[in-house]
């Protein structure tokens, strides 16, 4: 665990870079330090591994004040990745990744084994890449090697200063996804600096928003979006924070579970009754257990009646898969111009139903639930 207590940094010329910042990062969590340039986020991070000396306050690593440790030992226990990457051009990929293991006197077999392991983890073929030089890599590959290097000696803590900052947006998005997957496995305690609100929301378990050296708000991303503490936070997260919060929530959170369904051979009159009883004009059609087949509308029933569902239904397996975000589901609904979207698992088995109406309610709920106000126009 990393714990900052009244951390302050004043430079000799009197500039206050960080002012009385306190927060903690629990084991295995990713904490994003977010804010505009000059807000003190990088300074805060660099005080954790003592690249910048602290002026007053304390930083505890698992309960020990970091000033009581040898600074180089301290740094070897913390992975360090920076935007500029800083790969050593005269060393191969393998040698770069082995930097900290070598400093810790690992044997060369151990170091190489670890390098291969990390390249695999980063989705790079060790046999192809381990002996390459940084100049032979693409930007995205370099960024991956930079992250692999920071994981070299398997440190429990990682400090990352805009580690995906220097690459194009598409590659960045992919690297973020990959890294989240990796973090899910390795569960490091991470301090992650960025100025990009979208990256912060996507990556962070918690986000610390800083301004002029002060910690303005420290909360999970959903709360940051739903309940910004003041005007600065609201402006910083942007006017589209509603949409952003949809990016954070999975469809499971908003869908109706086990919605009423009908089968292809059901009688249309019966279906109409069900609709009346449930006060709906839309029902999902399934078959063979729970496999999504399509849907049926009340208007179509009237034209086709009498008959069975198969005479009136629309065969359509358009759906959102479980695990996708509400933002993605909403995009599908808007694209297809539908107000109802079935939710299925990977085997196309129906899991629930997402309606536009529920979505609207949910957004309202997150606002009021957290004490925030509806967005001002």
């Amino acid at each position: 665990m990393i714990k900052l207590e009244n951390v302050t940094k004043v430079y000799p010329d009197g500039t206050e870079a960080v002012n009385d910042v306190s927060f903690e990062v629990k084991d295995g969590k990713l904490c994003v330090l977010l804010g505009p340039s000059g807000c003190g986020k990088t300074t805060t991070m660099k005080m954790i591994n003592r690249l910048i000396p602290i002026s007053s306050g304390h930083i505890y690593i698992d309960g020990t004040d970091n000033r009581e440790m040898d600074e180089n030992e301290l740094r070897r226990e913390m992975g360090y990745a920076i935007q500029e990457i800083g790969l050593f051009p005269h060393m191969t990929v393998g040698e770069n990744i082995s930097t900290v293991p070598k400093l810790k006197n690992w044997s060369s077999q151990e170091s190489e084994k670890r390098s291969r392991e990390l390249l695999n983890l980063m989705g790079m073929d060790p046999d192809e890449f381990i002996d390459k030089y940084p100049t032979e890599l693409s930007g995205g590959q370099r960024q991956r090697v930079g992250v692999a290097r920071s994981l070299g000696a398997d440190p429990p803590i990682m400090l990352m200063d805009e580690p995906f900052g220097a690459i194009d947006p598409i590659t960045r998005d992919r690297l973020q996804d990959e890294f989240l997957k990796i973090q899910n496995e390795i569960q490091k305690t991470i301090v992650f600096v960025t100025h990009d609100i979208n990256e912060a929301i996507k990556m962070g378990d918690r986000v610390a928003l800083l301004k002029d050296g002060e910690l303005i708000q420290y909360s999970p991303p959903a709360e940051l979006l739903a309940a910004p503490k003041n005007r600065f936070v609201r402006d910083f997260v942007g006017s589209d924070r509603t949409l952003k919060s949809l990016r954070l929530m999975k469809v499971e959170k908003a869908m109706k579970e086990s919605p009423r369904v009908v089968r292809e051979d059901d009688d249309l009159d019966e279906v109409e009754n069900i609709m009346k009883k449930n006060d709906t004009n839309y029902l999902i059609v399934v078959r063979n257990g729970n496999e999504l087949k399509g849907w049926i509308n009340r208007e179509d029933i009237e034209d086709a009646s009498p008959g069975t569902v198969s005479d009136a239904m629309v065969e359509d397996t358009g759906a959102a898969e479980t695990g996708t975000t509400l933002a993605e589901a909403l995009t599908v609904m808007l694209e297809r111009d539908v107000a109802n979207l079935p939710v299925v698992d990977a085997e196309m088995k129906l899991q629930g139903l997402l309606t536009f109406h529920d979505l609207q309610n949910l957004i309202g709920e997150t606002y009021t639930e957290s004490g925030g106000k509806h967005p001002e126009v």
């Binding site: 180089n72 920076i82 990457i85 050593f88 051009p89 005269h90």
Partner: protein, 219 residues
């Protein structure tokens, strides 16, 4: 024709002069590299910008002193210190001084220009300043330092001919004697051999430069 005759008749003597010349260059430039690189590393250190400016300025001035005058200046200085004021020693000292600027300046510049991101990464991973110097800065600076050495050697091969005026041996001898006795063949012989030496040294050091360039920096 005369030149060819002269060379043909004095193979052994010319060979000895060449060896003397080479020895002078070898000794002086080995020392010059040692001093220049150490001093270059020192002045490239943090907070030594002013010292660096002064040292580089002095090294620059050194290059502007005509070699003959420098030899002249060294003589009284060395005799005041009770050291031999003519011959090998003053020649070596003068050549070390002339070799300083290219070696010192290249070392200094190469170390200062190592990408700060690499140093930052090194520090952040827990490398000590010494490890950063030995594992990052110096390997990256080697090609540039080698280029400086090459420069110094080529300059010094020329200047070493003048060392004959203070009694050092080398390929300056035939030139000096030729001048005094109006023997064009001797002057040209000396000049030819000095040029050949300079070209060979330049070529060899270019190869060495390539060899010492870390694999990852070659394009």
């Amino acid at each position: 024709m005369e030149v060819w005759q002269y060379i043909n008749g004095h193979w052994i003597t010319i060979g000895n002069w060449t060896l003397d010349h080479l020895w002078l260059i070898f000794v002086s430039n080995s020392l010059a590299v040692f001093i220049g690189v150490s001093l270059g590393i020192f002045i490239a250190g943090k907070g030594r910008e002013e010292i660096a400016d002064t040292v580089l300025y002095l090294a620059g001035i050194m290059m502007t002193i005509p070699s003959l005058a420098l030899f002249g200046l060294l003589m009284p200085l060395l005799s005041a210190l009770d050291l031999p004021s003519i011959g090998f020693l003053p020649a070596v000292i003068a050549l070390i001084l002339y070799g300083q600027l290219p070696i010192l300046r290249n070392t200094y510049t190469a170390i200062r220009e190592v990408d700060p991101a690499m140093i930052e990464a090194g520090r952040g991973m827990g490398m000590t300043p010494r490890q950063i110097l030995l594992k990052i800065k110096l390997p990256l600076a080697v090609p540039v330092i080698m280029a400086g050495l090459r420069n110094a050697v080529v300059i010094n091969i020329g200047i070493a001919t003048i060392a004959v005026f203070i009694g050092a041996r080398g390929l300056g001898v035939p030139i000096f004697r030729g001048l005094r006795t109006s023997r064009m063949d001797m002057i040209i012989t000396g000049a030819i051999f000095v040029s050949i030496l300079a070209l060979l040294a330049d070529g060899l050091l270019a190869l060495a430069e390539k060899k010492f360039t870390p694999e990852g920096l070659k394009k």
